[in-house]
Each structure stands twice: as structure tokens, then as C-alpha cells.
């Protein structure tokens, strides 16, 4: 699954640590999601989307093979 968290972070001029603090997770979690190493739960995906005021599908998209 691909995501545009890094792009959204850049748009909001935020660091991984800033975003992590806002949604109450560790910086490592944000890093792992951005790198595609970890697929977040629906709850966390919704939190991220709500924070950026976007729909979940606008941030997370399925890749071929998913």
C-alpha cells in the first residue's frame, strides 16, 4: 500500500515527530508507515486522514499485488 504522508507532511511543514505527537504514536511508527514497512490499522489511517483533512483514499492507495 502506497501513501502520501510524506507529501502531506511537507505541505503542512511538519516533521515526523510533529505528526507523531499530533496523533499519539511514536516517530518510528510514522517513519515505518511512510517507508511502507508498516500498514496502519483503520483507526490510525482515519486519524491521519482526519488530521490532514483528507479522505483515507486520498492518502492511502492500494498497489498491484495488495
Amino acid at each position: 500500500m502506497k501513501n502520501t504522508i510524506k507529501v502531506e507532511r511537507a505541505r503542512h511543514d511538519m516533521t515526523q515527530a510533529d505528526l507523531a505527537e499530533k496523533i499519539s504514536v511514536s516517530r518510528q511508527t510514522i517513519h515505518a508507515i511512510e517507508k511502507g514497512k508498516f500498514v496502519p490499522s483503520t483507526v490510525l489511517a482515519l486519524k491521519i486522514a482526519r488530521f490532514f483533512e483528507l479522505k483515507v483514499e486520498e492518502i492511502f492507495t492500494l498497489e498491484e499485488g495488495d
Binding site: T29, A32, K37
Partner: protein
């Protein structure tokens, strides 16, 4: 089910208790042999060894019941993965020990199995955590 109910500090306390009491009997024996001291009976009585074992097992319990600094779903997943991997490897090792000692008695007791599981879990968990941080 989340069973991490103790504060993060108990993770460190648990580790210290585990390693001190786990290493102690071996260290005492090793030092006595290395330095040629006569075997100090006081440190190797069954009650003393049992007490050390209890402290060590308490350390394991503290460690598994305490939270990380930031407890989130990544940590939860990593912990579960490390636990299941350690369990499967532990079973494999137990199977091997049983095969190798088929004619004799296995020397790996229940405590030994838990110590092995704990060390295996720690290695896998920290390796996975490190991998996700890079």
C-alpha cells in the same frame, strides 16, 4: 488483548532483575573456578538458587507486563511478532533437545525454557524495533 499495565520504568527494573539473577549463579561458579576460590556453599544452596530463580522469573514478568515509552500499534505488532517467532524457535529447540537427549534425561527444565524464550524474545524484538527505526 493488551496486558501491559505497568509503567515503562518496570521494563528496566525487570531486565536488571532478570540479568542479575540469571547471570549470578553462573558468574559465581565461573569466578570461583577462575580465581581458584573454594566453592562457597552459602551461594549455592538450593534455597538461594531458588530465590534467584524467583527473582529472575519476576524480572521476566515485570518486563512483559510493562509498557514502552510510547505504546502504539507498531510496538504492539512488533511485540506479538517477536513473541510468536520466539515461541516457534523455542519449540524447535525443545524438539531438538528432546531428540538429542532421547536416551538420557533432558537438562532443560521449565525455568530454562522460559529463560531461553526471554532471551530469544529480547533479541528478536530489539532487532525488529531497530529495523523499523532505520
Amino acid at each position: 488483548m493488551k496486558i501491559q499495565i505497568l509503567p515503562h520504568i518496570f521494563k528496566k527494573i525487570g531486565l536488571v532483575l532478570f540479568f542479575i539473577s540469571f547471570i549470578n549463579p553462573y558468574m559465581i561458579g565461573f569466578m570461583q573456578r577462575l580465581l581458584g576460590f573454594p566453592l562457597n556453599r552459602e551461594w549455592s544452596t538450593p534455597i538461594w538458587l531458588k530465590a534467584l530463580e524467583l527473582v529472575s522469573l519476576s524480572g521476566i514478568l515485570f518486563y512483559f507486563l510493562s509498557k514502552e515509552k510510547i505504546e502504539d500499534e507498531l510496538i504492539y505488532n512488533l511485540r506479538m511478532e517477536a513473541m510468536s517467532t520466539a515461541f516457534i524457535i523455542g519449540l524447535g529447540v525443545l524438539w531438538l533437545v528432546q531428540i538429542l537427549t532421547i536416551n538420557g534425561e533432558s537438562t532443560m527444565g521449565i525455568s530454562g525454557l522460559f529463560y531461553f524464550y526471554m532471551i530469544l524474545f529480547l533479541i528478536i524484538y530489539h532487532y525488529k524495533k531497530r529495523n523499523f527505526s532505520l
